[in-house]
Amino acid sequence: MGKFWSILFLCVTFFGVGTFMFGAATGVWLPENVGSETAYSIDHLFKFILVLTGIVFIGTEVTLFYFLWRYDGKTNQQPAKFSHGSHTLEICWTIVPAATLLFIAIYQLNTWAAAKMRTPMANGYDMAPTVEVTGRQFEWRLRYPGDDGILGTKDDLFDVNDLHVPVGEEVLVSLKSMDVLHGFYLPNLRVKQDAVPGMKIPVWFRPMKEGEYDIPCSQLCGWGHYKMTGRLVVESRAAYEKYLADLKVRQNSVVPPWAAQQAAESIPAQGTPEQTASAESGATSAGTSSNNTTSSLANTNR
């Protein structure tokens, strides 16, 4: 019975190590990292600490197994020996872990500072925010600064859950919350920051690869927390500018989208296909040109 328990404890070691080996073999590992140096150094720290704690884990578990096996009550008939403790041993097992922890603490200082303390600069000044993200139950509301580059002015652009950023450039997010704690989590950029009601927290990252990624919420915020996910779209600068331009047109739209469609559809189909095609394209261009006129009026009269 006793030996059975010691084997059981040894299994913990095997399963623990085995899980990681299985993960490494089948590619079940961290999410794709599309960030910059800070993101990679976070990954490096993760692996370093994993290896370090892994060694300690195997060591302690094997020792535990050994003692359970060697001194099992059924097979070991020797009487118990009592010791008054070993001062040397106690010093050893205090100093060595303390030194290890101190080492880890110092080793990670630079990465922490880069990720959380050194706000990005542009031209000698603090960089202006690229976007203001406000967490709300259960979505991410976005506010872009618009043409003037200043948040809080009349030309700000609003969207929900669909955060676009340019690739290869530093992005500064001004993180707020409208109601309760939320967690702004970009797994692919190794960014995680709680959105605290009443605070405006700067979060920065540099995405290096185009694509669509998730923005899950990493802090329990209510019944909908499990499905609170936004979408991060990393795209070229040109596509990003186009997205903002489209957003601006949509936001200043004085023509409902279905009205433009109706204008195109209301031309009756008559005569030859060529005539119909030209009539339809005429209607569409009339629709869009009126749109353009309105938005250009809106631009010039600002």
Partner: protein, 403 residues
């Protein structure tokens, strides 16, 4: 450790067996399938006073015409797409089936009555679809919204309320959900129309007869009658309010000033939105609670208040505590129906009927240019000094030395 017999293995086996037994003894009982709830506030309302026998008949008719939450059905005259409704209806299976229960039911309720389990904690309450009244749409007063209006609401959400944005759902999922909302709304409206027929006593004599169950009555009189649900929903597309061109000085300071004049004078906005547009003017009840408010007034005016009060108390059990319509604080920059200028135009022109916001489109002496100026004023309000919006002050730190 519990010892059942001397040998440890024996103990282990017996212990495990007992644990397994206790785990599975309660059984794998599944809860019964959900059912639609009757609109008791209207059925038991002293104005209508539908007899229990006829209440049961209404329930049976609705079961035949619309099916159950797990197994929906629609008549072709409703114009609804049953395939899409089936995707949204029924129990949740992964993320592709049972979409309404996956995303909507906890607020909007299984019958679309706005009384789901979380509804009580929300301000404002979730929408009650059963009257077919929606706030943010492109059609006049009591008309239902268009399909596009509902798609827009799902995609953008309603900022400032608990209605989230479902922009990240696929187009087909949104279409299925919108179809299901229309289904629940039509079902609720059919119920009300049946109660109306009971009251009118035109097509049959309720004292002596049961509800007719002929196709003639159910389809032609109820569904396709002049105020029938199918008629109303079919007409919405043709009743969309036309949005005229804005004036040439739209989006200028002069336009904002003209809008301010409209706000304080002929728009009549100050009465509810307050002299500083903070929403601190008068409040009125919202139309979804009209029955209960009218009953409260009746109770107050009647000679036997106690007796009627019992009845209204019984009705209130089937309703959320009634709230008044709060006029919007216009300085917050939160536009529930959307911040695009044409959306604001719709709100002003048509008003928001169920919240008792009057539309100024038909006010004598009001031109559409005036309404556009007012739109400009409302879009500008949150940026005026008195609206307390602070720009990102802490982000503009003074320049510091480069190390």
């Amino acid at each position: 450790m519990i010892v059942f017999c001397k040998r440890p293995l024996c103990s282990w086996l017996i212990g495990s067996a007992i644990c397994l037994l206790l785990t599975f003894a309660p059984g794998c009982d599944q809860s019964p399938p959900p059912r639609f709830h009757a609109n008791l506030v209207q059925m038991d309302n002293p104005d209508n006073n539908v007899s229990p026998k006829h209440q049961q008949q209404i329930a049976d008719i609705l079961l035949a015409m619309y099916g159950t939450p797990d197994d929906p059905f629609v008549l072709p005259e409703t114009g609804l797409d049953l395939q899409k409704i089936k995707v949204a209806a029924g129990p949740v299976k992964g993320y592709t089936q049972g979409l309404f229960r996956l995303h909507c039911v906890h607020c909007h309720g299984i019958s679309g009555d706005g009384m789901g389990p979380t509804a009580l904690f929300l301000k404002p309450y979730p929408r009650d679809y059963r009257e077919g009244w929606f706030k943010f749409k492109s059609t006049p007063s009591k008309m239902p919204p268009t399909h596009d209006d509902l798609v827009r609401t799902l995609q953008e959400g309603i900022s400032g309320t608990a209605m989230p944005s479902f922009k990240l759902l696929s187009q087909s999922e949104i279409e299925a959900l919108v179809e299901y909302v229309e289904y629940l709304s039509m079902r609720g409206q059919t119920e009300l129309e049946l109660i109306n027929q009971y009251k009118l006593a035109d097509a049959f004599d309720p004292d002596k007869e049961d509800f007719p169950t002929t196709r003639e009555f159910l389809v032609n009189t109820v569904l396709l009658g002049p105020n029938g649900p199918a008629t109303l929903w079919k007409e919405t597309a043709s009743q969309v309010t036309a949005v005229p061109q804005p004036p040439s000085d739209f989006r200028t300071a002069a336009s904002v000033e003209a809008g301010r004049q409209v706000f304080y004078n002929k728009g009549g906005c100050v009465k509810c939105h307050g002299p500083t547009a903070l929403g601190d003017g008068q409040m009125v009840w919202d139309m979804w609670n009209e029955s209960i408010h009218k009953l409260d007034q009746k109770v107050a005016d009647s000679s036997e208040p106690a007796k009627l009060a019992d009845l209204t108390a019984a009705l209130r059990v089937d309703a959320l505590p009634p709230r008044e319509s709060e006029p919007r604080n216009l300085r917050q920059g939160i536009y529930r129906g959307g911040r695009q200028p044409y959306e604001l135009f719709y709100r002003l022109y048509n008003g928001i009927f169920p919240s008792q916001m009057p539309g100024i489109g038909s006010t004598p002496g009001m031109t559409t240019d005036d309404i556009w100026h007012l739109v400009d004023f409302i879009l500008d309000l949150p940026y005026q000094p008195g609206s307390q919006y602070h720009s990102d002050e802490h982000m503009k730190a003074p320049p510091r030395e480069l190390l």
